[in-house]
Amino acid sequence: MSGVGETMVVNGVEIDDSFAEAFPMAGTAIEITAINEKWALEAARSMTGFATSVIACGCEGGIDRLLSPDETRDGRPGVRVLFFSFDAGGLEKQVTTRLGQCILTSPTSACFADFDGEETIDLGNAIRYFADGWQISKKFEGKHFWRMPVMEGEFLCEAKTGITTNGVGGGNLLLMARSTPQALAACEIAIEAMRKVPGVIMPFPGGIVRSGSKVGGKYKGMMASTNDAYCPTLKAVTRSELTPEIGSVLEIVIDGLSAEAVADAMRVGIKAVTDLGPVEGAIRIGAGNYGGNLGPHHFHLKDLLP
Amino acid sequence: MDRAWIDGQPATSDEALDAAAKLLADAVQPFVGGLRTDVAGLRAAFALAKDLGAIVDHADSATIEPFLSALRDGGAFLAAPAEMRRRADRVLVLGDEPATIGADLLTSLSTSEPDLGVRTRGSGRQIMVLGTVAGPVEGHDGVTRIDCASDDLVDVVGMVRARLAGRPIGEGPLGGTTIATIAEFVAAAGFGCIVFSPAEVGALGSEQVFGLAADLNAETRCSTLPLLGSDNAMGAALLSTWTAGFPLRLSFGRREAEHDAALYASDRQLSGAGEADCAVIVDALADGAAAAAPAVALPAIVLAADPAAAKAAQIGFAVASAGRDHDSILYDSRFGSFVGQTAQESSELPTAAAILTALAERLGGRVADAA
């Protein structure tokens, strides 16, 4: 961690002169609809479960936003979910596995592509054989669907969805507070605001990760390990980035379909945290990076000030 | 005896040929049809048609069109009648037309037994008729008939196919048990044979029947004997195919043969609804008129074995009957190919081929080239 120069202060909240270092990811969006919002959300939550970190989950996924019936392809309530992975192949494998296990299975669900991209990955194409020969392909008006008879009726699924390889993973904010309740309060208010930004997800539980990590570790085979520089209990015994008054740090990780979307989310988040102020929330905002040599996207906090 | 007429008045052959040549030379779109003649007549007719840039069809090609259509769309299993006589132990006869147009074949099959093949020899022959009449096989040993209307045949064959494949069947013209009986009949054959009339079931129906045979051959042996209403039309279609690449219903208007089974059909052109403005009609067989001779609404040059027909035309020639008055090559469906037929009578009349050739010579090659 480096790059801490002159700090800025907004509404009493210190903002490090640092940057979030993020990486290109393959990303996509799909639309999941169902008979009502409840079941659309059930399906979406199931599909985006265990998708916090690409390292161990194969992808990062989450709900982008709810879709009203007049926005969806079939006129029913829906949810837009996003997925990100290292590359198109990894993305397809995760999305289709989750599609097969979580959407195909979920009552009344349907699945539509929700991203136009030159490159595509399979959706229905990949799972159609579940229908054991009874699957029906329909192509019309430039769209291609698979219809799969299931016990409940018929599962309608678009054949493919577009992807972007210009997605961004690893946008982040480190919110440092005097205590855990304050850190959590800052995070929650930030997440609430950031969720309104289209094209981004915060893949960790509730959008928040407490176990921010550094790359590698002392044990062989560990790709990531605890970010000891930000652990308050190690302030004195490690090369800490924390000042004494900081008692708890939480991180928000952001993935987006574009760098702009990630930047927007971070900006909105910073504003929410600074608006909340240091008394109820965070006293300092930082960002995680690896020195700037690993990821091409550098989101400098000073550029994202409210 | 008069041999040529112009507007019903006797004329010399030369006069009639001159008049015919003039009529054809002045026409925009000649039609060469009828084609009820032997191979020599067909060859001469095709040569004339090429010269004229004519549309060509046979009077009876409607009876073979469903067969040709099904064949070229989906292929077929086809048998020779003589081989089926020796080989087929079970014969499924579809519909009512076989009883008339295939009476000879059915009689031959019902009065003989398979004598070739360990799978078929010695077990006799069973014939199952799906129709309203059994015709010539009525009452023979081994013949059963299941009542079935012509219009229901294609549905029934479809049901049999579904049954054989283990796919479900809905309510149809025949009950499930009967369908099962028919399916069992063909599936258990050592060598099965399906006899049907493509004209009766149509092109799509013929494809259904060919499909049944193809399905059966996955496990056992089966072939089909499509009965064509007109051997003569089939012969003309075959000759047309090697001559022009297409089986009849074609136009030489732009030299290279072009085929359209609807546009160039005889009925359409002769009725005046088509584009032809002048017709050459050859009707030189001994066996009477075409199956369904359409009204000819065009100025016509008629070459007919029946002098009355020739006399009634604008320009007419009485010609010898192919196969009766002179040695001829004719297609014979009993043989499944062309056969030479020796004259039974001698005739002073010219052959259709001779008149057509004389006419082509009068026109002096392709008319368009002269223009």
């Binding site: - | 191979v39 020599a40 060859r43 040709l68 064949l71 070229r72 769309d73 989906g74 292929g75 077929a76 299993f77 086809l78 048998a79 020779a80 003589a82 081989e83 089926m84 006589r85 020796r86 080989r87 031959s108 003989s112 004598d115 070739l116 093949g117 360990v118 799978r119 020899r121 050592g190 060598f191 051959n217 056992t220 042996r221 072939s223 075959l238 000759l239 195919t241 090697w242 001559t243 022009a244 690449g245 297409f246 089986p247 290279e256 043969a257 072009e258 085929h259 040695d327 090559i329 014979d332 009993r334 043989f335 499944g336 190919s337 062309f338 056969v339 030479g340």
Partner: protein, 546 residues
Amino acid sequence: MLKRLSGGHVVDPATERDGVIDLYVEDGVIVDPPSDGRSADETIDCTGLVVMAGAIDIHSHIAGGHVNTARLLLPEWHRAFSSRPGETALSRVGWTTEETGLRYAQMGFTTVVEPAMAPSSALHAHLELADTPIIDKATLVVLGNDDLLLSMIRDGESENAIADYVAWTVASSRALGVKCINAGGSAAFKENVRKFEFDDVVPDYGVSSRQIVKTLQRAVTSLGIAHPLHVHCNNLGVPGASSDAIAATMRAAEGDPLHLAHIQFYGYGTEGKRRFSSRGRDLAALVNTTPEVTVDIGQVMFGQTVTISSDELRQFAGRAQASPRKSVIFDHEANGGGVVPFDYRRKSFHNALQWAIGMELFLLIEDPARVFFTTDHPNGAPFTTYPDIFALLMDRSVRQAWLEALPKAVREMTSLAEIEREYTLNEIATMTRAAPARLLGTADRGHLGAGAVADIAVYRPGADKAAMFGTAAFVLKDGEVVVRNGAVVKRTFGRALTLRPEPDKAMKARLDRYFDDKYGLSARWFEVPDGALGHNDPFKVVPCRA
């Protein structure tokens, strides 16, 4: 009228001439230079051109029921059916009888043999041939799956009786020779047998394929028919089994002449992960060491075509690969047959290796007088691909370019790249002129010596062998110039070369009864009547050996 072809480079292996020589033609035949000083009435300047006898194709399915069925089955390949620019998969093919004759003539071919005429479609085949302009033609009549022959063998009838039956069939059908197609296989298929080896027996007859082939070989020899029995072996195209079948058949020649057709389709092994490999080298070696056999290749070339065969059993099996997916299977008396469209794709491992195997055989069989130039038209490829094949045989760099376009896996399975041989003009002339005339017993052609019919092909030599052989500079047929600069300038009608063995009267009577009793047919229907073909003098009789 005396014509002189002056200054041309005559390549005529039959008369062992290879140099600049003037040729003289009078009354449709080649004559010696006039000794009386008489000058030619017409001189055709052949300076700088290559002069050969008209080429002879010994195995090309150009006429008859199955060929016409292929036309019926595939109207979509007719030029008139395609949208512009008017090219269809087979639009280059001589699809009609007229185009067939013209296109052969343009390449300098003047005699073509239709090799699979069923006795029952002899008249049909001859009608089509009579409508095929310019070229002379001949037919081979098919026996070997017919009830009568199988019954005669089963019943132990005498060789004489069998020869009489063969003689009747040849005479009635106006054939030049006898062909045997998957001997017994079609008959077995009618009994629902789906695989048939050389020593398998036909159910109900107890007669093996080997017995049928040997019986017919003896009959053909005893009748003095010049062309050896023309055999289409069992298991065509089946990896492993095909090469076993042809090896067994070749060994069964036992010192007597035997011709094996389209052997490329039998050069298939089962090595490699795709269980498909080349046995071209082994097969060529076997041909090289079996001097009594002759072979033709049946080269595969890439593109859409249609397979036409009286091997009903194998055509039935081939239906699964039909492209487009439609085919016609015939259950006729005797052989029956099948018409199955096929698309040989350069990118297909199997098809590309088939191509390579054909090339290996062409190049590894040493004696050009025992290997013949065929694609088994249209089975391996349409005959219009011949110019490309000439180029492949004569120019190693052309082969190399083709090889490089093939899938890598194929290049690893063939030794073709290592073969350096390039056919010479003399070898080409041997393979396509001198040798086929000898094989067919037609002494009046295949060479440019005095007395030969004046069927002459004159080519413009050049580095591009495909261009050279694609369009002849001149072609003379019976002494008349029919092609000039690759264009047909005159349409003549060639004759059908036939044998006329005298049929035995008793056999004739027996056959009258047999066809009537057993099939309800008249034996007369199998005959091709003299007046049937609409030309004066439509046949030319080739004598049998004494």
